[in-house]
Amino acid sequence: MTRFVPAVAFVAMVALFAVMMLSDRNPKEINSVLIGRTVPDFALPTLDGGTAGDAVLKARGKPVLVNFFASWCVPCRAEHQTLMDLAARGDLVMVGIAYKDRPGDTRAFLDELGNPFEVVLRDETGDVAIEFGVSGAPETFLIDRDGTIRYRHWGPMVGDTIAQRLAPELEALGLP
């Protein structure tokens, strides 16, 4: 049997290559360590001059969708219609966090494209984004009724990623 050792070793190597090439891997996509944990504590100014903290994301009776966006971010523009559609469903609390953005720019952006958010928080320094492990805008988190982070969407929510990824997560929370 030792005569087959080279063949077996080779097959293992080919299998490794095949797995690496065929798997739908996006090596840059890191699973958020926050999944399954509660929302981190934070406090931020809101766009209309108030202050809000992690409470707006917890125990709202409905699941919460938090979207990190910015007016300067082109993919955010691309996914905006998706957010508008999600807001129109009415069974989600929509929260926006403006990431490293000037308040004036944020307002102009939302005036132009419509505002899907119940409340918009301003994270000008990006500190809260770091708390969430956000690697950049846009990024979206789905939080269940208990305030636990269930899902993290990396990059714009466009095309079939909604049907393939977000929809099952919503279903898991009992939403159609």
């Binding site: 996006n26 840059k28 996509e29 890191i30 360590v33 910015a70 300067w72 971010c73 082109v74 993919p75 490293k100 953005d101 000037r102 000008e124 770091i130 708390e131 492990g133 956000v134 690697s135 950049g136 805008a137 990059g155 714009p156």
Partner: protein, 155 residues
């Protein structure tokens, strides 16, 4: 005679295989233990995520790939400082040395070096690729369209 032959063959085989196996075991252990031989390949977003998670410590050796942020290159004597971005996060890089020919703002580079305390990165090498289509694997951001926006390096 046949017995002797078989025994000799067997001894040779055992010695060869064990020697080769020993050598490879030593090398595998070396790889697994890491040290200077290994460096993680990261993009700026990964760096922020790892720093946030406490996975990246001062003294860790990493390879950092991304685009050179426009307008970020400054020089002081032989030290060049520039920002690498993947259009989602940025890392400031210090490099003492001559930059490769194709180093240019807005283009892809791979740098290798040591992560420092306080979020700085000191590169010991800056690599560029000698291909016509200048986007080394791993340097292209995942959302390249974001990079076209001039204000993406706000504030």
């Amino acid at each position: 005679m046949a017995g002797l032959r078989a025994r000799k063959r067997q001894r040779l085989l055992v010695v060869s295989v064990s020697l080769a196996a020993f050598i490879l075991a030593v090398l595998t252990a070396l790889l697994a233990l890491g040290g200077d031989s290994l460096s993680l390949f990261l993009q700026p977003s990964d760096v922020s995520a790892r720093v946030a998670a406490g996975d990246l410590k001062a003294g860790d050796r990493i390879r950092l790939g991304g685009l050179v942020a426009p307008g970020s290159v400054t020089r002081e004597d032989v030290v060049t400082q520039f920002v690498i971005t993947d259009c989602a996060a940025t890392v400031t890089v210090r490099y003492a040395g001559l930059l490769p020919d194709l180093f240019k703002e807005g283009q892809g580079v791979v740098t290798e070096g040591i992560w420092q305390d306080g979020g700085a990165f000191t590169a010991s090498s800056v690599l560029a690729k000698h291909d016509e289509n200048y986007a080394p694997p791993g340097t292209l951001p995942d959302n390249p369209e974001a990079c076209t926006h001039p204000e993406s390096t706000y504030p």
